[in-house]
């Protein structure tokens, strides 16, 4: 009996007994409420057939009491249900689906195994429309007034993936403002827009009808050129927004926290991780709509805030894992065990697994083979461990999926079996085979055999490697004393670690010194004073103002940084480094800036508003121009904050002088999240918004008319369809947020990479947004990318959480896959030293001339030096010339047999 599968948006069916989805943790089968026995006391067939007697219908829910010192609420969100708004035809027209439905269609584990099909006729849609802002930015019953933040970019992702699936597909996105304000999102948007057959149309739309026969859907929209028109699509995707969690009210009641008017968690504006109740923290979208990186900041940040409360009990409940002693197999003949995984049907449906097992059993040195339904399951992992012990295996190959996911799992099985974990190789017969050759079963099976053979060839040459333990100095260095740096420093110090906070200016505060209020009403100067007071008063924080960094050496757990502060040079030893250097405001060269003192930047305007500058607050007409220095060729990114900042200033001016005429000339208004409400408020208060095209920027000239000095701003109004002239008294420019010029130097000192716009580049955009690839170095605040104060605070706590993860340990383990120098073969040419920008290599004088010497702790394992070395004196362990050549040679097929690798040019 099959029931609609909620994980696949009920497009496909599943059984009452199922796993939640293929990557679920734990990956365990369970029985859900649709079970016939649970509903009607019938059936019980499963109980009879289960040999292991694993089914127990007598289980009942249990109440468990847990005593905790802190609570993190991370309930996520509820996708907006477009059924509540009749006009979209969702649930009525079969080919009107939500973006969540579409996401499942795109997925390999989705209802059609990764093929985009229409449920009405299972055909591939050729003409697809996306409708943006469904349920968002709508002050209508059932809609949400706020912007859901993520939909513009997820739609672009879906368009790109659609084009990946089917190059011929025509994709049309009907949108309001395009809000690609996230890091690198502007480039992503451009990439999507430039794809052939992709149209972005700025228009409100209505879903008109469904063709009863073809089930195609007609949409009505309007463009300035053609007016109102109708167009038929094969499929319409509703880009639905983010609603608060459905049990939000219940949670609020149970935990005694407050909700905001939108139903999300009410948070402290200066610390969005804090709820109204001490000890209860909130992370993720429950704070308000946010994207993955921001969500990850808050997760780590909530961890850090719990740490501040509970640090005194750290490690009280942990137990250390003990592995059996590692056996020495250096004198043994290679004995390889090969395990081939079905991955349920993921591999088994395409690749003939038994035949791969059979083939592997005949490969040289293979002494044990087995097939497994899911190699990654706990049972299968135990089988591997047992086989190592019983069959005396000293090499293990698992033919399954990508090492990216499960390599650690299997390495662990080796350790449990008393084998060095580097005697392991994964043959990827899923991503590299069954998934990408799913229609060629025979060829795929042959390829799976070859992939396994390559892996065995490599396994034969693997060496046991030792991961080394490095001691950890318990202090942290925070570079940059702005809001992010100070919050991060405080959180670390509050957990008992010494913090050295260095600031290039004489005073702490950074950019926040020039900010007076936020949209949400935070008094920034008061907050800043309080923060600085806490920093200066903290016994574990030492502040170095007016500082320059002279030298930074060392590695994770053991950095040594030389700082000159107020003329005094100090050598600081620290285990972790946080880069929080902030950002600068762009100095415009356009719109008479610097030539006319009535033209100012947003920050300058704010400062003049704060001191009630007569000229500003009594101005009759004030114009703001957005995107000055952003979203152009030179700086191809959105500065994220300026739309909200302009609206903030506009609202403040309206509060002081309601009669002032304020115009905001913009490209897209990017007031994401709850800031949308302030955009609406500004429009309601008669702030006039005029959109301009990048190819037709506003013109500004200073003119004198009947004795009055005015700034004449000319702009094309797309609604009126003509040029309009605005005579302004004041002009504010939303100047870009730019990376500080010192970033290059900081980047070199701490080996922290920079992205294309010279902001610091995190280790992974989504999953590791506060880490660097370089271990022990972390990132927060505007050094990462422009962001609002609450976002910077989230990330500051996030970085503190990551720092604590490191500093709370006495030692840290470094990978065994590092380079090694064979001095005999080294000719001292220095090519490796030149290539290694990590400074892991240096030449030193020996009796046999200069030789390269490696500091394995600094080695990142990229292996460039290995390639550069003319003599083969440097080898990257685990990716040695010998191992890689063994794989290259094993591609040869029938001719292959493992042999002494012939010496070749690179000196193997």
């Amino acid at each position: 009996m099959k029931i609609p599968d909620p994980f696949n948006q009920e497009i496909s069916k599943n059984k009452a007994i199922h796993i939640h989805f293929s990557q679920a943790i734990p990956l365990i089968t369970y029985i859900d409420e649709s079970c016939l026995y649970l509903k009607e006391k019938k059936c019980r067939i499963c109980e009879a057939v289960c040999e292991k007697k694993a089914i127990d219908f007598t289980q009942t829910p249990e109440k468990v009491k847990v005593n905790v010192g802190a609570i993190i609420l991370a309930p996520g969100f509820e996708p907006f249900d477009p059924k509540v708004r009749d006009e979209y035809g969702y649930g009525k027209f079969e080919n009107v689906i939500t973006s969540m439905d579409y996401e499942r269609l795109l997925s390999s584990t989705g209802p059609y195994e990764g093929e985009i099909r229409r449920t009405s006729d299972l055909k591939h849609p050729k003409k697809i429309a996306w409708i943006q802002c469904v349920g968002s930015r709508q002050v209508l019953p059932g809609g949400n007034s706020y912007c859901s933040t993520v939909c513009c970019t997820y739609t672009q992702k879906q368009v790109i993936l659609t084009k990946d699936h089917d190059l011929e597909a025509e994709c049309t996105v009907f949108h309001n403002d395009i809000r690609s304000f996230g890091k690198d999102f502007e480039r992503f948007y451009e990439r999507t827009e430039r794809l052939p057959g992709v149209r972005f149309i700025r228009s409100y739309v209505s879903v008109v009808r469904e063709d009863p026969k073809s089930k195609n859907v007609t949409i009505r929209y309007s463009t300035p050129e053609d007016g109102v028109k109708e167009e038929e699509f094969d499929m319409v995707v509703l880009s639905i927004g983010l609603n608060p969690p459905s049990d939000g009210k219940d949670l609020a009641r149970k935990f005694g926290i407050e909700l905001d008017p939108h139903g999300f968690c009410k948070t402290n504006p200066s610390n969005p991780i804090e709820t109204a109740r001490p000890g209860i923290f909130v992370s993720g979208v429950f704070q308000g709509p946010m994207d993955i990186p921001e969500s990850v900041f808050t997760a780590s940040g909530a961890g850090s805030q719990c740490g501040q409360l509970l640090d005194y009990r750290r490690d009280k409940l942990t137990t250390e894992r003990v592995y059996p002693a590692e056996k020495d197999v250096s004198q043994e003949e290679p004995k390889v065990g090969v395990f081939v995984c079905y991955c349920g049907a993921n591999i088994g449906r395409v690749v003939d697994v038994p035949s791969v097992v059979e083939y592997a059993s005949k490969l040289p040195h293979v002494v044990h083979v087995d097939k497994q339904l899911f190699s990654c399951s706990t049972d299968s992992a135990k089988q591997i461990t047992e086989a190592i012990k019983e069959k005396g295996l000293n090499r293990v190959v698992v033919a399954a999926c990508t090492p990216k996911t499960h390599e650690p799992t299997f390495r662990d099985s080796l350790r449990e079996g008393g084998l060095n974990q580097y005697f392991f190789d994964m043959a990827n017969i899923r991503e590299h085979c069954s998934w990408v050759h799913s229609r060629e079963k025979e060829e795929a099976t042959e390829k799976a055999k070859e992939i396994t053979r390559l892996s065995v060839a490599r396994a034969l040459r693997l060496e046991p490697l030792q991961e080394f333990e490095l001691s950890v100095n318990k202090a942290a260095l925070v570079v940059g004393g702005g809001l992010a740096g100070m919050n991060c420093a405080l959180s670390i110090a509050n957990q008992g670690h010494e913090v050295h906070l260095i600031e290039r200016e004489k005073e702490l505060g950074g950019m926040a010194r020039r900010i007076y209020y936020t949209l949400e009403g935070l008094d920034v100067q008061a907050y800043l004073q309080d923060l600085m007071y806490k920093v200066f008063r903290h016994p574990l924080i030492r502040v170095y103002p007016d500082a320059t960094i002279l030298e930074a050496k060392g590695y994770v757990g053991n950095f040594v940084t030389k700082v000159k502060s107020e003329g005094v040079i100090t050598e600081i030893k620290h285990g972790a480094t946080v880069i929080a250097v902030g950002a600068d405001e762009y100095k415009p060269t356009e719109y008479l800036y610097g030539k006319d003192d009535r033209v100012m930047t947003n920050l300058e305007l704010e400062e003049r508003i704060a001191r009630r500058d007569e000229k500003v607050v009594t101005a009759e007409t004030l114009v703001m121009i957005q995107c000055v220095g952003s979203r152009n060729e030179e700086r191809n990114y959105c500065s994220r904050i300026c739309c909200s900042e302009s609206i903030k200033n506009a609202l403040k001016l309206k509060e002081i002088n309601p009669k002032m005429d304020i115009y905001i000339l913009f490209r897209d208004i990017r007031t994401y999240g709850f800031k949308e409400d302030y955009y609406r408020e500004a429009a309601d208060k008669d702030v006039k918004f005029i959109r301009y095209e990048p190819g037709d920027k506003p013109q500004v000239e200073a003119v004198e008319e009947s004795g009055r000095q005015i700034l004449r701003v000319t702009v094309t109004d797309p609604i009126l369809g003509k040029r309009v002239e605005i005579d302004a008294d004041m002009l504010a420019l939303a100047a870009a947020t730019v990376s500080p010029s010192g970033n290059k130097q900081i980047s070199q000192l701490f080996k922290a990479s920079l992205g294309p716009d010279d902001f610091f580049k995190e280790a992974h955009v989504k999953l590791r947004p506060v880490d660097f690839v370089e271990d022990g170095v972390y990132l927060c605040g505007m050094a990462h990318y422009p962001k609002h104060i609450p976002e910077a605070v989230n990330q500051a706590y996030g970085a503190a959480g990551r720092v604590l993860t490191l500093l709370s340990h006495d030692t840290v383990v470094a990978s065994g896959s590092v380079c090694i120098v064979d001095e005999k073969k080294c000719m001292g040419c220095g090519a490796c030293v030149e290539a290694c920008t990590y400074g892991a290599l240096e030449l030193y004088e020996t009796r046999q001339g200069e030789k390269a010497k490696i500091n394995p702790v600094l080695c990142k394992g990229d292996g460039l030096c290995n390639t550069k070395c003319p003599t083969g004196a440097i080898q990257l362990k685990h990716f040695t010339d010998e191992q890689l050549i063994a794989q290259i040679d094993a591609t040869v097929g029938d001719r292959w047999e493992p042999k002494e690798v012939k010496k070749i040019g690179c000196g193997t």
């Binding site: 290694c836 990229d862 292996g863 390639t867 550069k868 000196g907």
Partner: protein, 259 residues
């Protein structure tokens, strides 16, 4: 992402994992062709988006550019070798690249046959080139570390003439038996272990093992100057074993021990 998105591509490719495209040695590429592979693809991150600070992908590019010229030199179609920069999220791009290379190689034809050159002859030439990889790395070290962002500059990095000259001017090192004092310095310093040495035995360079790095020439004590660099001529055959013994007058042999 090609896998996760289930994008179908040609099954005629085998993937070998390295942590950075900069780890791919010229010798690996030549070896793959030597094994009879019809095409080689190197996938790297986009230029300037290297997750390491080493920017290994620029280095990989340079090496591919040199590799293509070498293929040209030995008569192997350079279009069999390709480097593509892509991001891990671009499954479609990866699948397209693989299909495109496979199709390209198909139009060229199988290794050797497509070029109309005997396979064994090509293999012999590849053998010869593989032996010269260390020499090429040393001679073209600076250019192999270039950072060429603009694709227009790529074909200019190594010109055909330049590579012809490079391969024409391959030096040989030779120890003059008249001058060698069997001091063992060169033998101890040879990174390739290519010098047959021994106390009171005139040293001989094993030309098969020699990687032409010139270390022996550099370290041979100037007062002996026994190592010669020969350009464009084959080194004389090694002296017969029975003539290698140095007969010294009096007690002069102490001089060799000072090193």
């Amino acid at each position: 992402m090609a896998g996760v998105s289930r994008l179908q591509y040609s099954n005629e490719i085998r993937l070998i994992r390295v942590m950075c495209s900069g780890r791919v040695d010229l010798a690996f590429i030549l070896r793959a062709f030597h094994n009879g592979m019809d095409g080689v693809l190197i996938g790297g991150c986009y230029l300037d988006e290297c997750k390491y600070t080493t920017h290994g992908n620029y280095h990989a590019l340079n090496m591919v550019l040199l590799g293509k010229r070498i293929m040209e030199h030995i008569g192997l179609n350079p279009e069999r070798l390709r480097i593509e920069f892509m991001s891990s999220s671009e499954g479609g791009r990866f699948a397209d690249t693989v299909n495109d290379l496979v199709n390209k190689v198909r139009t060229i034809g199988p290794f050797g046959k497509g070029e109309g050159i005997d396979e064994n002859e090509l293999r012999a030439k590849l053998d010869e080139m593989m032996k010269l990889v260390p020499y090429m790395k040393i001679a073209k070290r600076d250019k192999l570390s270039s950072r060429l962002k603009d694709p227009k500059e790529w074909s200019k990095l190594f010109t055909r003439d330049e590579v012809e000259t490079l391969l024409r001017e391959v030096p040989s090192y030779y120890i003059d038996p008249e001058k060698c004092q069997a001091c063992m310095t060169c033998a101890r310093r040879c990174p390739a272990d290519a010098i047959l040495s021994g106390k009171n035995l005139i040293h001989i360079i094993d030309q098969e093992k020699c990687i032409k790095c010139g270390t022996c020439l550099e370290v041979c004590p100037p007062r002996f100057s026994a190592v010669l660099k020969l350009m464009g001529e084959a080194p004389p055959p090694p002296i017969p074993e029975e003539k290698r013994k140095i007969v010294r007058k009096g007690r002069e042999e102490g001089s060799s021990k000072q090193n």
